[in-house]
């Protein structure tokens, strides 16, 4: 598989779009999973998948075979996700910020709120996990997702995101602390 991928990368670099199509077909699902963990919603994840491959295509000549092609894609995807969730957070902060008056205006508008009836236990835990992940800062979430779900080492993550090992370590520690704070009460009830 890796040899196959290597030659597809070579051919894609030489401008063979069929070869690039192969790479897209091969890696899309993995990138989607990563992107969903990062952004927490499907539409953003689709956006990340698409943008990742478009960027990868433009930057193919910058890819060095030192890392595997999938790691390289992960790097592009996680950096773009990071930008996207930062933008979203900023957006939300702005909605939340401001005077009471503004809040009143915004709150007078009915938004879709989750109904109380769908609080079956399993769903509740999963919802709480999603909420807890949403509480993380973009940097914390990115580092945590790459470590926890994708199994990248702290050193690799630091290099990918350009944040260095120490900062990455602290992002992960803070992420775990926040997750514990938000999830321990829920998990506690379960046992």
């Amino acid at each position: 598989m890796e040899v196959e991928a290597g030659s597809a990368v070579e051919r894609a670099r030489a401008g063979d779009s069929d070869a690039f199509r192969l790479l897209v077909e091969q890696h899309s699902r993995a990138i989607f999973r990563l992107a969903f963990r990062m952004t927490g919603n499907e539409q953003d994840a689709e956006d990340v998948v698409q943008e990742t491959f478009l960027r990868a295509y433009k930057q193919l000549d910058r890819y060095e075979a030192r890392s595997s092609f999938s790691t390289w894609l992960f790097r592009i995807a996680s950096n773009y996700s990071l930008d996207l969730i930062r933008m979203r957070k900023r957006h939300e902060d702005k909605r939340e910020r401001g005077s009471d008056e503004e809040r009143d205006i915004l709150q007078s508008i009915p938004l879709d709120t989750p109904g109380p009836e769908r609080m079956a236990y399993g769903t509740e835990v999963r919802d709480r996990v999603n909420e807890a992940l949403n509480e993380l800062s973009p940097q914390e979430r990115t580092a945590f997702v790459l470590r926890h779900f994708e199994g990248l080492s702290i050193e690799e993550i630091g290099a990918s995101l350009g944040t260095g090992t120490n900062a990455t370590k602290h992002s992960i520690f803070r992420a775990v602390q926040k997750l514990r704070k938000n999830l321990e009460p829920v998990v506690g009830h379960a046992r």
């Binding site: 779009s17 690039f20 199509r21 897209v24 077909e25 091969q26 890696h27 899309s28 699902r29 989607f32 999973r33 969903f36 963990r37 499907e42 539409q43 689709e46 998948v49 698409q50 491959f53 478009l54 295509y57 930062r86 933008m87 957070k89 900023r90 957006h91 702005k94 909605r95 910020r97 401001g98 005077s99 008056e101 503004e102 205006i105 915004l106 508008i109 938004l111 399993g122 835990v125 999963r126 996990v129 999603n130 807890a132 992940l133 973009p138 926890h148 080492s153 702290i154 370590k169 992960i172 520690f173 775990v176 602390q177 997750l179 514990r180 999830l183 321990e184 829920v186 998990v187 046992r191």
Partner: protein, 247 residues
């Protein structure tokens, strides 16, 4: 050995501890730390229960279909077309737009004025992001190459329906703050977004023409663009801020 720090336990959990042997030994001997580690494991294992929506075996093919057209011909067609007709309307629209923005500035006491400014600014910043995304959808359709068969607009549809919710929120907010100029543009935008969201995933060239006409007859793309950059200018301009969190 003292008790094990949380950070050490996290590293141990992920197999990145440099003192794994010593920590393991301590865990055997110390119930406090053992409990602590178990609590940590429980939470981190629970995180795995967050579901990821399934994507089928054909997903990669679908992704390719979506990006294929953007890999080849994208550069030439993007933003090529509307510059031809836009400049003619530019002066008119910009002045109408600015007039609308200026007339409803409050003349009351300083405090009220500040509040009004903060409120406007918050709205405009959020609206700016929103308009930027909307503009991409409109431009994509407006500039789609002429074609004989059907054109796949799955992407544009998806984005349009996502944008609709935000659009409603901003339109209602703009109305209630008396920001008529903004509300009117959002009103027009909403109609077109709705149209796009409800289009079939593949449109014929006549259906595409209809959509284009809707976009162009209202000068929508241009208005959205002008207002988007106005909003971003407000974002950059210094304004009173209370608990300004910056990233």
């Amino acid at each position: 050995m003292n008790h094990i720090s949380e950070e050490q336990l996290v590293l141990l959990y992920y197999g990145e501890s440099t003192e794994a042997a010593a920590i393991d030994q301590h865990l055997v001997e110390c119930e406090t730390c053992r409990k602590e580690f178990r609590a940590l494991q429980l939470v981190l294992n629970t995180v795995d229960s967050a579901p990821v929506p399934e994507r089928g075996a054909d997903y990669g093919k679908a992704v390719w279909q979506r990006i294929e057209k953007r890999i080849g011909g994208r550069k030439q067609r993007r933003f090529a077309q509307w510059w031809i007709w836009a400049p003619a309307m530019a002066a008119l629209l910009v002045s109408a737009f600015l007039a609308g923005r200026l007339t409803h500035k409050p003349v009351g006491p300083e405090v009220a004025k500040n509040q009004q400014q903060i409120r406007e600014r918050i709205l405009m910043v959020a609206v700016g992001d929103h308009l930027e995304r909307s503009q991409m959808v409109l431009a994509e359709l407006s500039n789609a190459p002429d074609h004989k068969g059907k054109l796949d607009i799955t992407d544009e549809r998806q984005m349009a329906s996502e944008l609709l919710d935000d659009n409603r929120l901003y339109r209602q907010t703009a109305r209630s703050t008396g920001d008529t100029a903004v509300a009117n543009v959002l009103d027009d935008l909403e109609r077109v977004l709705l149209e796009i969201a409800h289009s079939p995933t593949e449109v014929s060239s006549s259906q595409l023409d209809d959509l284009r006409q809707q976009i162009e007859s209202r000068g929508l793309l241009f208005k959205v663009r002008v207002m988007g950059s106005q909003a971003r200018e407000q974002e950059v301009a210094p304004a009173p801020q209370k608990n300004g969190k910056k990233l």
